[in-house]
């Protein structure tokens, strides 16, 4: 297997390992990282695989350094990524802001842990606001929220292509449960499946003498005047909005005419999906909507689904961070949005189902 991407195969893995293997499959060249639970095994496995595949790794002094070194790797023309969590994600926002400003295709994998601050090392969905809109900017970045190890593999591969195709920073947003959970998945070489890896290209060190054979590459994140910056940000906004329809992804079922539409993302969406299947088997008209991309949010699809539903139940392991994105997308619609927030706690299908039953019963009473 030395050097080659693993042939298509059913395997048993943990989420963090999946990221490392997927990065190899995506033809990533470099990882710069810093230890933080629960993402450590991403580095553990990347470092185990690196010599066999000719990959580069450096453990930096902190997440700032990991993020900025990742920017350096990208400038040098390599597919480069890092992985972090919690307080590390807070620090990571500084380099990602620079990547946004310079439109650099960095890839960051986040395994959410409890917050605020150090909190717990285990699980939450409390890094949604930070990952979608962190940094001192406009949030021109792509955020894939995965719901299981197969998706973690697929979307880590996709993240590199999205980054290099559109030149916006890309996050793969998972959580401590996905990082540590074990389940079977199919690994494959994307090339074998017709997914051509987008080739990276260097920003610095291109052939020729700068100023003689070619203009020098001069990259900055500082602008002199408000007008200059305004033009830059507007251009980025226009480009982000132009490509957003090509990037957005969602999953839905039974939304049409649903009395209750359960809206969830990430690993919670697995429970939501199960709950909806359970309820439909009971004869309750329940639907399910899950944005896969939290940035850009599939707002049109969400509005359409919500417009056909009686009520929305927004479920998340945070206190309304995801719901804020949802409500913003629904602005102007009159549909009732009911929360089920459990910050830092896992949510089971049964909990969601029983809340849906309550909602259905209460709306039956009011009708």
């Amino acid at each position: 297997m030395s050097g080659a991407v693993m042939a298509e195969k059913r395997v048993f893995m943990t989420g963090n390992e999946v990221v490392a293997w997927a990065a190899v499959a995506a033809r990533a060249d470099v990882m710069y990282g810093y230890p933080i639970t629960p993402q450590n095994e991403v580095m553990h496995y990347w470092t185990r695989l690196a010599p066999k595949h000719g990959k580069i790794f450096l453990q930096t002094e902190d997440e700032l350094s990991a993020g900025f070194a990742t920017i350096g790797g990208v400038l040098a023309g390599k597919k480069c990524f890092t992985a972090t969590a919690g307080p590390g994600n807070v620090l990571m926002q500084e380099p990602v802001s620079m990547a946004e400003m310079m439109r650099l295709p960095v890839v960051v994998v986040v395994m959410q842990r409890g917050g605020p601050s150090t909190a717990t090392v285990i699980y939450s969905q409390q890094e949604v606001t930070l990952t979608t809109f962190g940094g001192n900017g406009e949030g021109f970045r792509v955020v894939y929220s995965t719901a299981g190890l197969q998706e973690l593999y697929d979307h880590t591969i996709k993240a590199f292509n999205t980054a290099w195709r559109y030149r916006f920073p890309v996050f793969v947003l998972a959580d401590g449960y996905q990082a540590k959970m074990r389940e079977p998945l199919t690994v494959y070489d994307p090339v074998e499946r017709g997914i051509e890896p987008v080739a990276p290209e260097p920003y610095v060190g291109r052939p020729g003498k700068p100023g003689a054979d070619r203009p020098p590459g001069h990259y900055r994140n500082t602008y002199n005047t408000e007008e200059e910056l305004y033009a830059v940000v507007l251009e980025q906004a226009a480009e982000y909005e132009r490509v957003a329809p090509e990037i957005v992804e969602h999953e839905e079922s039974g939304a049409e005419g649903a009395a209750v539409l359960v809206v969830a993302h990430g690993v919670v969406a697995r429970a939501a999906k199960q709950a909806v299947e359970l309820l439909r088997a009971e004869g309750l008209k329940a639907g399910y909507f899950r944005p896969v991309t939290l940035r850009p949010l599939p707002a049109e699809a969400l509005r359409t689904a919500a417009g056909r539903a009686g009520r929305l139940l927004v479920v998340e392991s945070a206190y309304g961070q995801f719901a804020r994105l949802v409500r913003d997308a629904l602005y102007g619609l009159t549909v009732d949005v009911v929360p089920l927030y459990k910050p830092g706690l896992g949510i089971t299908a049964e909990e969601i189902a029983s809340r849906c039953r309550e909602l259905a019963a209460s709306s039956a009473r009011t009708e």
Binding site: R10, V11, F12, T14, E17, T37, E41, R48, M181, E183
Partner: protein, 229 residues
């Protein structure tokens, strides 16, 4: 009762389960401890996972205690920041071999391999000490004979192999048996016996008492899915 009879009766089993990350060490160790406890001797199960202890045995302590196993593991509420502030060895684990009866160690993964056992007092004097490597050939790094051989060599002294090849909820007899062939070949190459194949109870029943490579089949009751959430 003569002295030597007493000695034989008191021979105890001391086993350490080592292996790759997510190979199934905890599942195999828990089942082994239960098997030993059922025979009536005192049995101790030691969580020696110094990498991510909070994800292994702690939610199961009460249930295992009721089954007659003395569990040596942290309870999360009694520690702070496990997996973050560094991994903390419970003092009781260091002295586990002073306990009467059988002792089963669940050793976490890591580049140190079986070296975690150096943390246990008296290991070098234990006469019947067995280090068993748990192999899941559905894990990419141990999916080939060469991969298994290289992995086991990295672990340090290993006395036996356990074929624990599975695909979680998708495990079939075919998956287990394909793994058995690989582990058997690796065992031949390493000169280390394969002591058992382990499989979920239903699959174990389907395979029968011995797998096609003639390894005894031990049925597993699955605890770990609950240990995690």
């Amino acid at each position: 009762m003569s002295f030597w009879v007493f000695e034989v009766r008191r021979i105890r089993i001391v086993e350490a389960y080592v292996g790759e990350y997510a190979a199934g060490k905890s599942e195999v160790a828990v089942n082994r401890a239960l098997e030993l406890a059922r025979e009536g001797e005192p049995a101790t199960l030691v969580d020696l996972d110094t990498v991510e202890p909070c994800y292994t045995l702690r939610p199961l302590q009460e249930e295992l205690g009721a089954a007659g196993i003395h569990v040596v593991a942290w309870e999360t509420r009694r520690t702070l920041g496990l997996g973050e502030a560094g991994s903390v060895l419970k003092a009781e684990a260091r002295w586990a071999l002073r306990r009467p009866g059988h002792v089963v160690f669940d050793v976490g993964y890591g580049v140190g391999g079986a070296k975690a056992l150096n943390l246990v007092e008296g290991v070098e004097h234990e006469r019947w000490f067995n280090v068993l490597a748990v192999i899941n050939a559905s894990r990419p790094l141990t999916a080939t004979v060469e991969g298994i051989v290289a992995h086991v060599r990295d672990l340090g002294p290993v006395h036996g192999l356990i074929n624990n090849t599975h695909l979680g909820s998708e495990t079939t007899a075919a998956v287990v048996q394909a793994g058995a062939a690989l582990v058997a070949a690796a065992g031949r190459s390493l000169g280390i016996p394969v002591v058992a194949t382990t499989a979920p109870a239903a699959v174990a029943a389907e395979i029968g008492p011995y797998d096609p490579a003639a390894h005894p089949v031990r049925p597993l009751r699955r605890f770990m899915p609950r240990a995690f959430w």
